[in-house]
């Protein structure tokens, strides 16, 4: 599903693909509402963050595969002290570390949307919320999470 309003106030740095192209398919996928992660074409295992070689079998034949934006809350943090001017009026916000069982348990970072004071329970099932920023320069999409 997609978010109607951004979770954080505007003004933080916009994500762009790495200059060497290493993570470009990921960012392109998010813009299409898809979670696409790196997967080895030799041993068929996901790895994240992306790298130029498979850490398991050392194959350079690395591909990309879509995986469901469904995971488990592996850890979390409720952040209070703003360290960026854009967040001066934000108030507390939550960052989630989400484990993806369908993608060999790789982990991904996002915000946990909803009430920032909601109980944060490790092990909770979470699902992805695509937060599109088509009017940003450059346009980008963030992948947020909500408790199921």
């Amino acid at each position: 599903m997609s978010a109607t309003t951004p979770y954080l106030k505007p003004g933080l740095a916009k994500p762009v693909a790495a200059g060497d192209g290493l993570d470009a398919p990921y960012w392109d996928g998010l813009k299409e509402g898809k979670l696409i992660l790196q997967r080895c074409n030799s041993c068929h295992k996901f790895q994240w963050g992306p790298e130029w070689v498979c850490h398991r079998c050392h194959s350079f034949d690395l591909g990309w595969a879509e995986t469901p934006a469904e995971g488990i809350l592996y850890s979390h943090q409720r952040i209070w002290h703003p360290v960026h001017p854009a967040l001066a009026e934000q108030g507390p916000y939550v960052v989630a570390l989400v484990e993806l069982p369908a993608a060999d348990n790789v982990r991904i970072i996002g915000n946990l949307v909803g009430d920032p004071m909601q109980p944060l329970v490790i092990g909770s099932a979470v699902r992805g919320v695509f937060e599109h920023h088509p009017d940003d320069d450059p346009p980008n999409t963030l992948l947020q999470w909500e408790v199921v």
Binding site: L12, P15, W48, S75, H81
Partner: protein
């Protein structure tokens, strides 16, 4: 015993620090601070600075070794080393590198140093201000995960969840540091004591870190002069030997986007056993511990991963009474450490460990013979070292 060891091969001749300032308050630029600390350490050792032939630092210290050697008129430069990795993970690693150079005959007299002037070069505790971000940071920064506290809080939350650790364990680490700082006139927090209520009422930076769980940010410099063990008795201080020093991290600790397999860790599981093996001591032999506090949660995990207690014993072991000198079971951060003495990227901890062996600490552990430092938990690489008195050789 294998020859492939640093045990007993290198000694500390002298240590020193500049005055420690709040961040941005140094009247002097960073390179001048480094010079001041190095000259003071040489004076402390009774060493002619011109005889220093090596420099070892970490965390991309900006005070270049060749410039330093030229500035001090050193007779020659034999060794110049920078430990990879950010934060304070390289503090004891820089000691290890310097010691390895001496032990293998590459250099005779190596200074380990670190200098910081954040007024000149910007603060650590602030997020980047760029318009766009790429690479690993693109996967965290747009979500507001952008400071050191943010980088580590989720490791500590996961660890506390897994092992039922209570906030009081983190608080005890902070209380002990502030207690020791009250005895240390060099400490930035000297004269500013902390108690349970003040800690509990302090604002959250990021849960589980209150304000007083977080290190300071400071300007200053610190330095340590190392020489071959054969010369240990040529200096004004009692002999202080390096018993071991190692660095590193566990399997794929550097996996990006928080994908380290052993996530809730201080990065010491494979490092600590190598230190004890080299030093030929165990945790029960350690008289006093200086454990790098970027955040108290990292100290907590470091203490477990170095075998001082199990994860399940943390709530009982990490108490104020156990952590204060001279009476505690494990006197911790006896200068006030990064929380309350000064954040010199942890090199102050190594200096304090040496002062414990010399009997010169402001919170002295009586008869301290084995004095240990753990540097920069939760980053990679981390490092640790053990100093010992003559009786430990």
């Amino acid at each position: 015993m294998s020859d492939r060891t640093l045990r007993g091969k290198v000694a500390v001749a002298g240590v020193a620090e500049t005055e420690y300032y709040k961040w941005g308050r140094s009247p002097d630029p960073e390179f001048k601070l480094a010079i001041q600390a190095i000259l003071k350490a040489c004076e402390n050792a009774g060493v002619d600075p011109r005889d220093v032939d090596g420099f070892s630092s970490y965390s991309n210290d900006r005070s270049d070794a060749s410039r330093m050697s030229a500035a001090l008129g050193c007779k020659q430069l034999s060794f110049a080393s920078m430990q990879w990795g950010g934060g304070g993970g390289g503090g004891s690693g820089a000691v290890a590198n310097a010691a390895a150079a001496i032990a293998t005959g590459q250099a005779e007299c190596v200074v380990v140093f670190r200098a910081l002037a954040q007024g000149q070069f910007g603060r650590f505790g602030q997020g980047p201000r760029s318009k766009v971000v790429s690479g690993p940071a693109a996967h965290t920064l747009p979500y507001g995960l952008m400071s050191a506290a943010h980088q580590f809080a989720m490791k500590v939350n996961r660890y506390m969840h897994d092992h039922g650790v209570r906030q009081e364990a983190l608080r005890a680490i902070s209380l002990a540091a502030y207690h020791h700082a009250q005895a240390n006139p060099r400490a930035v927090m000297h004269g500013r004591p902390l108690d349970e209520a003040k800690y509990d009422e302090s604002r959250w930076i990021v849960e589980p870190f209150h304000l007083f769980d977080c290190c300071l940010e400071n300007d200053g410099a610190a330095a340590m002069v190392l020489v071959a063990a054969e010369r240990a008795k040529d200096f004004p201080h009692p002999p202080c030997y390096l018993l071991g020093a190692v660095s590193g991290s566990q399997h794929r600790a550097g996996a990006t986007v928080h994908n380290t397999p052993e996530y809730a860790s201080s990065s010491f599981p494979t490092v600590a056993p190598r230190l004890y093996n080299m030093a030929q001591v165990g945790p029960s032999d350690v008289d006093v511990l200086q454990s790098y506090e970027n955040f108290t949660g990292g100290v907590m995990m470091s203490i477990v991963e170095h075998g001082f207690c199990t994860a399940e014993e943390v709530n009982d072991f990490l108490t104020y009474e156990n952590l204060v000198a001279p009476s505690g079971k494990l006197p911790l951060n006896t200068s006030g450490g990064n929380l309350a003495e000064c954040y010199m990227h942890g090199l102050g901890l190594n200096i304090e460990a040496v002062r414990q062996i010399w009997g010169e600490s402001t919170s002295q552990v009586p008869g301290a013979e084995i004095s240990m430092v753990t540097s920069g938990p939760m980053v990679t690489p981390v490092s640790c070292c053990i100093f010992g008195s003559e009786a430990t050789l």
